[in-house]
Symmetry: C2
Subunit: 307 residues, 2 copies
């Protein structure tokens, strides 16, 4: 039931049409770990600076996340600043300070080897491959981004030949595959050796391509999204968290995992940073899961509450 | 189970990354009518110029579309020319010549009154309202576009208070509702008096909002889309065609109609103009419907063909 995530921890400064947040906890591994923590036990391998402080550490511990692999190094924690467009669909990076993240070399301990489930967050694909080789997980998946696709495409493709699954944005999937069409891109990426491919489409949800089958889940319809930062990582956390909880990755479990991904992402966008995501309940998650399942059904849903 | 459509007939000149088509049959009412013709009997009320010619008329008649309401007026048929971006998601209008469409005043005959199903394609909302008042249909739906939202918002909102359904693009839904978020926009539009609202999302499919329920259908995954012109109109044709065929518009029928919309749109984009859409078979449509239904299912689909 173990789920290990390797990725970034950051302090973000974010401006959206709904407000601003300065120096708030973020980073792909944090969103992933908090989302997954509702479904399974999570271990975090990442690096922070001496300025990280107690408060964010408390938040992670309160979610029962194992932070013993969170390395504290001399220097400052990774900083990112960004600004979103009016409809939240586009974002502009205002500032990136890698700080201690620049020289991050994930260190696996003995207990991290043969982990059951591994998620390789968006870091240098050379490092992702090294971790994958060392960890020998039961099931593995990864994310990546434009920066690595443009600079380390070969390393990335070697990674895809050995990892089980890839979760990636649609524009990045097309870039990586060298295809203009998402469906053609999916087919090409699967041919590199993936068992499953999840294409994340922001407010439009996500699509799963696996073993010749296609499955699409809509985004849970949120009335007042506030900040989309971390939504894709929260999706990945919900997705992998469910696979780890079930200890299976057959077709049905993968499809259920898509719904959990969508549910966790929906909580993420309802407030800045982890404010909403770290404060939901298992019951609220299951309720949205049931709602999403009903949204996919052609049948009239059973009435779940008294009229 | 009659379905009447009022809208535009045009000759389009289209450039996409996959080729060009010059002066080919198009227009919202044509795509709608051809798509719907696989599911029900369709009557077309529209205007063309003296240059319309026999060939397009033969195409419509071959699809059993009643063209007795297609008015031929002195002058030239509506022309539109456009060009699509590399990923087909953006288009630029190069030329619009309204010609006889500029002074189009839909004329209903006696047999068009009390029609069972009416679709008001994208024309001046003043005209849409007049047709709706005259036709007194059993069930009605309409489309619109930025041009009318910006110029005749009040007329449009009066239309929405009397029509049953609206099928509209997501950016137009937000513009019409004055909301940045699609879900909030949907809620506002429904409050104007609609029974159902379909938000079309291009390659991401479409969402249905009706009686407090949400339903999303993905686009049928097309490997080689060639030309998206008319996809939204074909969706509407498949959607309304299924409602007309069933003679019902309960929740389940509306959701099935979403799948037929997605199926007909998928055929539309596979070639320029009506080349593919006018040449499919009822069986191919039902096969894609079954596939889409399986794509929505959490369960493993039954094996439909021998292994």
């Amino acid at each position: 039931m173990g789920l290990l995530v390797v990725g970034s921890v950051a302090f973000d400064s974010i401006t959206t049409p709904y407000g601003r947040a300065e120096e708030v906890l973020g980073g792909s591994a944090v969103y992933f770990a908090v989302a997954a923590s509702y479904l399974t036990r999570v271990r975090l391998v990442a690096v922070v600076g001496e300025d990280f402080g107690d408060e964010p550490m408390q938040l992670l511990r309160a979610r029962q996340i194992d932070v013993s692999g969170l390395e504290v190094r001399p220097g400052r924690t990774f900083r990112w600043a960004g600004e979103y467009s009016e409809d939240l669909n586009e974002r502009r990076t205002l500032r990136t300070e890698l700080n201690v993240f620049e020289s991050f070399r994930p260190k696996l301990r003995r207990q991290d080897v043969n982990v059951e489930h591994l998620f390789l967050g968006n870091i240098d694909p050379d490092l992702q491959r090294r971790v994958l080789t060392e960890a020998k997980p039961g099931l593995s998946a990864c994310d990546t981004m434009n920066f690595w696709i443009e600079r380390k495409s070969d390393s990335l493709k070697r990674l895809l030949a050995s990892v089980d699954g890839l979760l990636i944005n649609d524009s990045e999937a097309r870039l990586l595959a060298g295809e203009l069409n998402t469906v053609a891109a999916a087919r090409r990426l699967l041919s590199l050796g993936l068992r499953f491919l999840v294409i994340k489409r922001g407010e439009y949800g996500a699509a799963l391509f696996s073993e010749g089958r296609y499955f699409a889940v809509p985004a849970y319809p949120v009335m007042r999204p506030v900040d989309p930062t971390g939504a894709g990582d929260s999706f990945a956390g919900g997705f992998m968290g469910h696979l780890a909880r079930r200890g299976m990755h057959d077709g049905r479990t993968l499809r259920e995992a898509m719904l959990y991904g969508s549910v966790l992402a929906s909580f993420c966008v309802e407030d800045f940073s982890l404010r909403r995501l770290a404060a939901v309940t298992a019951r609220a998650i299951e309720e949205r899961f049931e709602e999403l399942r009903d949204f996919l059904s052609l049948d009239d849903p059973p009435r779940r509450r008294a009229p």
